[in-house]
């Protein structure tokens, strides 16, 4: 008897849980407002662990300029960020404002999780759209509407160790270099007896889509319905990446799972060329005895540079829309935010503010700091598949791994991956 009653109780409990679940996502009290006061929550992946104080400084200035609004910052590591954000949104407790990167932005905009910002922008006299970097503003539009305020960007350049180049008698890389130049130099610079490697470029989706663009190829067909990265140009791009480990670059086995091995190689003066993001500059500039410079990455048939962009979105469910908008705008374009980011070598502010960048450009090393901005002339943004972005990236990275570990030929691996990506598009 007791068992039966207990089973009933279990069923009742379960029913309650299920109805709770069904009820979620239905209370649509979006974009409500209680004036520009109160506490605004902000969730970010880019502050911890190195820039928490810088974010605090921006927050303090914002609160000073906007009496009545307090910002409550929540941080998470990038790897955990989206798990926490998605669970919070699913549970109806989304933060008022949160950081999104370009690749993930569309998914959130399409799902209706973001507040459209055009009207807020129009009503705000302090907002100057032209102050934001135009390509970033474009990137965070969905169906022609602005859904997030661009905040930062970084690009990928070629770092090189001047001492190693000079010692090997190889001319320093220039912006006119092609893959062939890089290859020839890398071979001359590699000296395994001394543990010196000529080049380092990860074999991943992000490097592949960019190499493909540098080779004049296209990831998707023009109508966006089919993956086309398995053509001759794609194969050449994949082979370009795959040809490095074991010849001019340490293999996965040689790296042996050591964390941040490429960084350690470069800071130890054992790596001549390194494809990496400008976020490495501050660390490298502080490394004693390291003489390095940067240049835009070599292309094959054309130049193409990877750019990472982040923005601040406002939750569609926020009850502090005005205050949230103000904070998002402040993070993106305020003088304080721009100065703080540049001064602390955080990611670069996504603004068109030449005066602010001037002082940034004067700082050395690297001497050729302007390469950071030269790269923006030929941007190759990653292809974006609405809801299936991460899946697509994993498919491509896995295909490259299969080719690298000999489970498939590069052509086979690319063909399989292209078929899988095409199936994702539907």
């Amino acid at each position: 008897m007791t068992t039966r009653r207990r089973v009933l109780a279990a069923a009742a409990g379960a029913l309650a849980a299920v109805s709770l679940l069904a009820a979620c996502g239905q209370d649509a009290s979006g974009g409500a407002d209680d004036g520009a006061t109160g506490t605004v929550t902000y969730f970010t992946f880019s502050a911890a662990p190195d820039h928490l104080k810088d974010l605090d400084a921006i927050k303090a200035e914002f609160e000073k300029q906007n009496p009545g609004i307090t910002v409550q910052v929540q941080t998470a590591a990038y790897d955990d960020y989206f798990t926490k954000l998605q669970t919070a949104i699913a549970g109806g407790t989304a933060p008022d404002t949160f950081e999104l990167n370009y690749e993930n932005f569309v998914t959130y905009a399409r799902a209706g999780a973001l507040l459209p910002l055009d009207e807020r922008a129009k009503a705000d006299q302090d907002y100057d759209a032209n102050r934001l970097y135009p390509k970033a503003r474009e990137a965070f539009q969905f169906k022609g509407k602005l859904y997030a305020v661009p905040s930062t960007f970084s690009d990928v350049v070629l770092f090189y160790n001047k001492k190693l180049f000079d010692a090997a008698g190889v001319a320093h890389p220039t912006a006119d270099w092609t893959w062939a130049d890089e290859r020839a130099a890398a071979e001359k610079l590699t000296n395994k007896a001394k543990g010196v490697y000529g080049d380092y470029q990860p074999v991943t989706f992000h490097e592949f889509y960019k190499a493909l663009a540098q080779n004049g190829g296209s990831f998707l067909s023009e109508d966006g319905k089919k993956a086309t990265f398995n053509d001759a140009k794609g194969l050449e791009a994949a082979q370009w990446l795959l040809s490095k480990p074991g010849t001019v670059q340490p293999t996965v086995a040689e790296i042996g799972g050591k964390a941040d091995y490429d960084t350690a190689l470069f800071t130890s003066g054992k790596l001549a060329m390194w494809h990496n993001g400008i976020w490495q500059i501050s660390k490298l500039a502080g490394t004693a005895g390291l003489d390095f410079d940067i240049v835009t990455e070599p292309g094959n048939t054309r130049k193409a540079n990877a750019v990472f962009m982040n923005a601040t979105a406002v939750s569609a469910k926020t009850k502090k829309a005005t205050a949230a908008w103000k904070w998002a705008r402040f993070l993106g374009s305020s003088q304080k935010a721009v100065e703080t980011r540049l001064g602390s070598n955080w990611e670069l502010p996504a603004v068109s503010d030449q005066a602010a960048f001037d002082s940034y450009l004067k700082k050395t090393p690297p001497a050729n700091r302007k390469a950071v901005f030269d790269a923006l002339a030929d941007i190759a943004l990653p292809p974006v598949l609405d809801a299936q972005q991460s899946k697509m990236q994993d498919i491509v990275t896995q295909a490259l791994e299969k080719a690298a570990s000999g489970q498939a030929t590069p052509q086979q691996a690319l063909d399989d991956a292209a078929a899988a990506v095409t199936a994702l598009i539907k």
Partner: protein, 270 residues
């Protein structure tokens, strides 16, 4: 005699291998940034530095998070001991209809990955108003099917004659449970207490999503903040890991006092 030597030899060999990760953690945590940044650096820190430990507090309020972890783990362990021991008694000592089925129901809760459970659980917590609270942090962790199962096995190893003798003396279930049987499963209780503490102390995913403000965050959540998107200060991470291993180790050594050969009941056995 030689048998004793063999035993020590085998144990020492094993122990050396087992020391690996801890030694590695400790060594990394005592290595300075410049040495860590070099591929050709010697294995041992030269010179050793405790500076990474000082940097623990930079990314998050270390002591606040540690206090939360201690509080949550202690409360959770005590309650897990209570809820597990009582249930284990029912499953091992009381014959009731559906006992087997209910026990399987208990086991079933261990068979679904936590990663998918957190979504409905979080939604439930939100409706209960327990997001970002100690109650929300604790409630799902104060019951342990693992503990119920483990203690049930320990109870089952005790002869029924013990209970019967107590009943003859006029004892009720509560007294048989608390005064007769519980002391006899002390080794299992002590062992489970270590596991219960460890699972609460190391829990990451649930605290990550349920705690929204620093007031309710725990050490593993704080340590995760040390991992940057592009690079990680491994010496600081390992300093934090070393610090967080020590309390469990201390508890384990303390619990060993109770994992000793218990009273022999052969006399009672018929």
């Amino acid at each position: 005699m030689s048998r004793k030597i063999l035993r020590y030899l085998a144990l020492t060999l094993g122990a050396v291998a087992m020391l690996g990760p801890f030694a590695w953690m400790l060594i990394t945590s005592l290595t300075g940034d410049p040495q860590l940044a070099r591929v050709d650096a010697p294995l041992l820190p030269d010179p050793p530095t405790i500076e990474p430990y000082g940097r623990l507090g930079e990314a998050f309020p270390f002591w606040r998070f540690a206090a939360n972890s201690v509080g949550v783990a202690v409360v959770s362990t005590l309650l897990q001991l209570f809820t597990s021991a009582t249930a284990a008694y029912a499953f091992s000592r009381l014959r009731f209809r559906g006992s087997g089925a209910v026990f399987v129901l208990y086991l079933a809760t261990m068979m679904i990955p936590m990663q998918v459970i957190i979504v409905p659980l979080f939604i439930e917590m939100r409706h209960l108003g327990l997001v970002d609270s100690y109650a929300g942090l604790l409630l799902p962790t104060i019951v342990s099917s693992f503990g119920v199962f483990m203690l049930r096995q320990a109870f089952l190893a005790l002869p029924m004659e013990l209970d019967e003798a107590a009943y003859v003396d006029g004892a009720g279930h509560l007294r048989v449970f608390a005064q007769v049987l519980l002391p006899l499963v002390a080794p299992a209780l002590a062992t489970f207490a270590v596991f219960a503490f460890m699972s609460s102390w190391n829990a990451f995913l649930w605290p990550l999503v349920i705690a929204q403000t620093e007031a309710h965050m725990t050490l593993p959540v704080g340590l995760s903040l040390l991992q940057g998107r592009y690079s990680t200060a491994w010496n600081v991470v390992m300093a934090g890991s070393t610090m967080s291993v020590l309390p469990i180790l201390a508890l384990y050594v303390f619990a060993q006092r109770y994992v000793v050969r218990g009273i022999t009941f052969t006399g009672i056995k018929s």
